[in-house]
């Protein structure tokens, strides 16, 4: 996908925090040297084209009632992966669901992130998911500590101020 210089500048800006003021886009537009109208148009286009997956607030899970998260790694027959992937994805407690290639050292091919109030609720959800999908082989990896969590900085320049 071709991105114009302006689009890259917009992306570099809105991947940060937008200002929490009455007219935040006017502030951003002024920084970028474009009209507010143009910025709104470009932003909407980035959303419509699916470049922006989500525009809004990201919460700290631990502080918003989701005290525990577990990554469940599942071993699924490849000929059932579509069906099982969709079933797992339908659980509200599941935030992410991906297929990944298994390796010699790590035989799992389906991954789900489960968020809940506590570890026991995560375990319970995983049991329900296993039952719903008719799976027995999986492992739950609880997060012990956050070592890093940031957003990717695309197209950012070191000398833009």
């Amino acid at each position: 996908m071709e991105l114009t210089e302006l689009q890259q500048k917009i992306i570099a800006s809105v991947q940060q925090d937008i200002p929490l003021v009455s007219a935040p886009y006017a502030t951003i537009a002024a920084e970028l040297g474009v009209s507010e109208e143009r910025l709104l148009k470009e932003l909407q286009a980035l959303c419509d084209r699916g470049v922006i997956r989500r525009f809004g607030a990201t919460l700290r899970h631990q502080k918003s009632g989701y005290g525990a998260n577990a990554m469940a790694a599942w071993q699924v027959d490849e000929d059932r992966i579509e069906e099982v992937g969709r079933k797992m994805a339908s659980f509200p407690a599941v935030s992410h669901c991906y297929r990944r290639n298994p390796t010699d050292q790590w035989p799992y091919n389906l991954y789900t992130m489960i968020h809940a109030a506590d570890e026991e609720s995560c375990r319970q959800t995983a049991r329900s998911m296993a039952e719903a999908a008719g799976l027995e082989t999986y492992t739950l990896l609880f997060s012990v500590r956050e070592l890093k969590k940031t957003s990717m900085q695309y197209f950012s320049t070191d000398d833009d101020d």
């Binding site: 996908m1 991105l3 992306i11 809105v14 991947q15 925090d17 929490l20 003021v21 009455s22 007219a23 886009y25 507010e36 709104l40 932003l43 909407q44 959303c47 699916g50 470049v51 922006i52 997956r53 989500r54 525009f55 809004g56 607030a57 990201t58 919460l59 700290r60 502080k63 918003s64 989701y66 990554m71 992966i81 992937g85 994805a89 599941v94 935030s95 992410h96 669901c97 991906y98 297929r99 990944r100 290639n101 390796t103 050292q105 790590w106 991954y111 492992t139 990896l141 609880f142 997060s143 012990v144 956050e146 070592l147 890093k148 969590k149 940031t150 957003s151 990717m152 900085q153 695309y154």
Partner: protein, 148 residues
């Protein structure tokens, strides 16, 4: 956090209005004033419940690729290993987890080759050779919001 805060949080996690006065748009939807929505949002940000308000992108649409990596790191060496890994700007999430493969991090870069090259660098610098590189081959779900 009260019910009004919850209403605001449930509204602003996705489809944040792209309008000249986004907080006014939200206020009208929720039956609040613009001023109240802004001041509560500022408070939720300052208290750490909101991590960030902005855009989240699909890496592939920007010419980037992403992957999930996992390493087996001796407990006493986790800090040092994380320091080396976290230096890469493309490493956006990194968690210590309760498994033999205990350090799990995501890596975003312009190409698969660059990720491989960087994993090689990490292995050389830390002596941790067993790093799994597990790019997603299919996305079934990326959740847009968490009900609070």
């Amino acid at each position: 956090m009260d019910d009004i805060d919850r209403k605001i949080l449930n509204r602003i996690q996705s489809r944040f209005p792209i309008t000249p006065r986004p907080f006014l748009t939200i206020a009208d939807e929720l039956g609040l004033t613009e001023k109240e929505v802004i001041s509560r949002t500022v408070h939720l940000k300052n208290s750490g419940i909101i991590r960030r308000i902005g855009a989240n992108f699909v890496p592939g649409k920007l010419g980037f690729v992403s992957t999930l990596c996992a390493a087996k790191v001796p407990e006493e060496y986790v800090e040092r290993f994380a320091e080396v890994v976290n230096r890469f700007p493309g490493v956006t999430h990194n968690y210590l987890r309760d498994n033999a493969f205990n350090v799990w991090f995501t890596f975003i870069a312009p190409s698969r080759e660059e990720i491989e090259k960087n994993l090689q660098k990490i292995a050389e610098e830390t002596g941790i050779e067993k790093i799994l590189n597990l790019p997603a081959t299919k996305v079934f779900k990326i959740k847009a919001k968490f009900a609070v």
